[in-house]
Every structure is written in C-alpha cells, then in structure tokens.
Amino acid sequence: MAFVTFGLRSGTILHPSLLSLIRDRKANTSCRYAWLVSVHALSDGETLGKRTNLAFRWVEGGVVKRSVANAASLSRRHFLAGASGLGLAGLLGALNRPAWAGELIELPFANGRRELVTNFPQKGVMILQRTRPPLLETPFEVFDKGVFTPNDRFYVRWHLPNIPTSIDPANFSLKVRGQVRQPISLTLHDLLNDFQPFEIAAVNQCSGNSRGLFSPRVTGGQWDNGAMGNALWRGVRLKDVLDRAGVGAGAVQVRCKGLDTGVLPQTPNFMKSLAVDHARDGEVMIAYEMNGKPLPLLNGFPLRLVVPGWYATYWVKMLADIEVLDKPDDNYWTSKAYLIPDTPGANVTPEQKGVKMIPINRMVPRSFFTSLADGAAVARGQTLIVRGIAFGGDTGVAKVLVSVDQGRQWQEARLGSNHGKYSFRQWEFPMRFATAGRQRLMVRTVNAAGVTQPDHPIWNGGGFMRNEIESIGVEVS
C-alpha cells in the first residue's frame, strides 16, 4: 500500500489525529504539538511507502524529544484520506485553515505582506504576525469606528508559547507573596466582592508598535501601527490588593507573573516589575473586565495588570502571581529585555555605542488619521470631515494639530469627548480640497505636559517608542 503526499515535508506540523501515533508509542505522553523533522526529502506527489521513515520532534515536560516511526506504524485511518485522493498532507492541512485564507494585506514596508485571519478564538479579522505564540495586529480601519477598540479586534501579543487554553474561574487564584506582612491567595470571587471596584479608560500599546516602519529596519514583531488599543478596564486597584497583604518596610519592587510559560525549562518566565510606589499609585490596577466583558483569553483572561500610561510590556496577562521584592528585579524580562537608550525620545543613531540603557517606561504622545488611509482619493471642492485618534502617552491630549503645508502652519482640530487622560481621544478636522493633485496631510498632538511628537523618525535597536508625526497622501480629483 502506498500513498501520495502533497506538502508533507520537514517542518510540517502534525494533525492532532496523528499525535496519537506518538501517544501510542510512548506511554504517558501528552503532547499537543509535534512536527516532522525529516521524511527523507519527500517532494509533492511522491509516493509514501510503508517503509518510509518519518522522524518527529515534540516537546514534553520542557524537553525536546524525538522519535522515528515508519509509515507502516501509522494506523489505517490516517491513510483513509490518502485513499480518497487527499493524501496524508491533505489530512495534515485540513485543520485550522484560516477562514480568510488568501485575503492578504500589504503593510507599508519591505516583506510586509500579511494574511488576514479569523481563526483565533474570540477574535474577528486580525492581521497575522505570528501564529505561535500569537501576535495579531488590529487592522487600522478598526480605530475609525470609535474611541474604544472592540475586544474581538484588540491586538494580541504573547512572548511564550505555553498559554493555558482552558481556564476555570472557579479554580483560579491570585497569589501575593514576598515582602508582605501576610501572604494571601485571592479567588476571583474575593476580588469581586472584597474590594472597591475601579475603572479607567487606558491605551494599551506594544513597546514595539510600528517597528516595521523603522529605518534601518530592526528585528522583532514587524508591526504596522495596529499593535495598540484602547479599552475601559474594570477591576481592582493593585494598591488595595497589596495593602491587603501588607507591603513590608524593605519592599523595593512588585513583580508580576502570568500563567504562560516557555517550552524549555531554561526559557525565563515572563515577569515584569514596577517600583513599589508606582504599583501603589492608585491607578495601576488588576482588570477582570475589558469594555464591560471578561477579557478574551488572548488578552489575558481572567486577570490582567493595567499600567495606565506605560507600555504594554508591563500589562502582565493571566496575572496569577505577585511577588513583593526587597531588591531590584534581576529577571531577564525586566533587567535585560525591553531596554531603551536613556536619551531624549529613546533616540540614537545605529552607529552610536556605549549608550546607557534603561527599562522602557512611560508612553509618548501619538496621533493618527483614521478616516482616510494613505493614498485615499478625495473629491475636489467638497467639504470632508477628516477624522482620527490621538493619545497623550502618560498624560492627556491637550490639542491635536493638522497641517497641509509640510508642517509650516498647523490648524487645531476639534476634540471628541474626553474619556480620561490615558484614553484615545477622537479628533475631527473639516477640509475642502480646492485644487486637484496629490496633497500631503500631517497630524500631531500636544499632550497636557506640553510634549509633542518629533518631526523626524527616532531610531533604537529594539524598535521601541516610535511616535513621529504621521502623514498621509490624498489624491484630489
């Protein structure tokens, strides 16, 4: 018996039904994810014989394991698809095919072609940046629909691949330990009933939002501008939770850890720390609701730290463990990752060496056009309300300014309703385009502290904190 294969080659991820193969051969294995390492260089359409050896690799208990099976050991049902002409690879590929397969979007940088997908749980159409661990970008038109980003369109960013996919709130608890008077463990019921609820509208923005636009390019998630979102967060103040445990006199930092872990035991757990005074400022909170609903799992269900005005790397998802430290955190994610140059606007040249590096912290102001995309066609002589969003970073938006003459003159836009200083703020600016041709529009915001956006792009090796003045071109005809 022989089977024709299509697309079955090194790296092919195994269909879950084939994982039983591994389970059968290795008792007590509970692998959920395995891939082919080699299939003796099969090409499309080649015959897979009974004697063909298939080498698999999978990860179990943090150790990469490897096994070889020959095709004869595959149970007959794995080949039924082959008999019907689909081939083994047809079976492999049958699951998890994105519903929007084939729908592509071209982000405005080299190698910027991305797939639009709908196959992530609790998510609508998203831009696929990475499947595992998930990186999903919000398509930019979503930001034109309102000042709050819908939960099912809110961007997703995970660092580590082992993300619990089943969470029972009845069994969930949040621990507070370390330099405290009394270590505590709180259930969700405790958080809901024993603490004063707290609500705040705040922008959550990835440190590397817009990284794909850096020049020269840098590695990391190659985002356009959609690795951000604004939500109304509801939960409890971190201060109140810390006070319940009683912060010790020698406390220096508060370290937060979620439920996600690496595959390998040597991969550092994702943890982020805040100074004790920051953690107790009455604004940093633990959210159990996002826009009036429990958080989507991929945004941190059931609990997420909310650090208003600070980059999202601090907003630990699936928050389960809070440790009060008596010395500065030296874990990888706080002390070595997410560092920025200690220069104005985190800006350096690619050649600059020996710059002091510090942990990324407060956000900087940004503003965007949302009702018009770059290259949009507009009608000459008609009045058009141009619209967008702005946020002030670590404080509110004071004003939004629009320019049509390369930034020589700036006109003040009208601001929409104010949802607090950490929220997106909508702006509108009526325009009439009198002459045909290409027209460049620019927008910038000035925050309540008087900080505005730079007119030149910044650069740093991490691709963090981009916030230059945005501009779009429109074609008037």
Binding site: G11, N96, S166, S371, I385, R432, A434
Partner: protein
Amino acid sequence: MSIASNHRESARRKYAVMRAIPVVLAGMLVVDAPQLRAENTAGSPEKAAKQADVQWVKVSVELPVSQTPFPAGEGSVIANAQCLICHSAGMVLRQPARTQEQWKETINKMRSSYGAPLPAEQVDPLAAYLSRLIPDGKGS
C-alpha cells in the same frame, strides 16, 4: 459621516486664514464616539451591586496551529528542528532582509537568553540559510 454646512464661516476663514493653501477649514463638527455599554455603569452608585452580574464561566479555546514549515533549502532541516520548538516559522519569514552576521546575533540570543538547544556548530549554517531566505531589494 456628517458634512459641514456652515458655508459663510467657510468663506470667512478661507480668506482670513488659508488663502495660500488649497485646503479650507470649513466648520467644526465633532461626532462623539459611540458610548460603550460599560460606560453607562461607570461611577454609578449601584457599581458595587453590579459586581454580582459578572458572569464567570470556564473558558476553553483552541489555538490555531501553523502549517508553515521553513522552505526547503540548505539549512532548513536545522531551522525546522530548532526554531519551531518555541515559535512558528512565520515570525522568521516576516523579518526584514538581514545579513548572515545579523542572523548569527539573533540565533545566539535565542541560545543564550531563551535556552535554545541549538549546537554551536549549527549557528553558521542556520545563519547562512536565514540570510538567503529573505532576499533584499524589496525596498528599504
């Protein structure tokens, strides 16, 4: 979308402010953002009572599995055996074009910071493969 209708104001500002500019400030209208349901309860006295309304149900989801291996080529066996341990291939395939030296840096970061079990002798062949994978010349 609302259209500004104040033509007199438009005409006034046209000459006073923006004569040299082919774009005219025509009026000021702002459409408020739609109110979210959740906002209606914000700050309301029955806030505490609302707590009981939060529905905590068990959430079980299935995450998609990437079907994309590294493209065949010298070194792809290493990439498929090593990189896929922790992340799907798409993360790599969507990076900008980089030199072999730059890829070497990244691979070594994967080894030293994240514990990738990649043997030292595979660093160069993998870096060479990755530098060929994403050709330059697509723009910036």
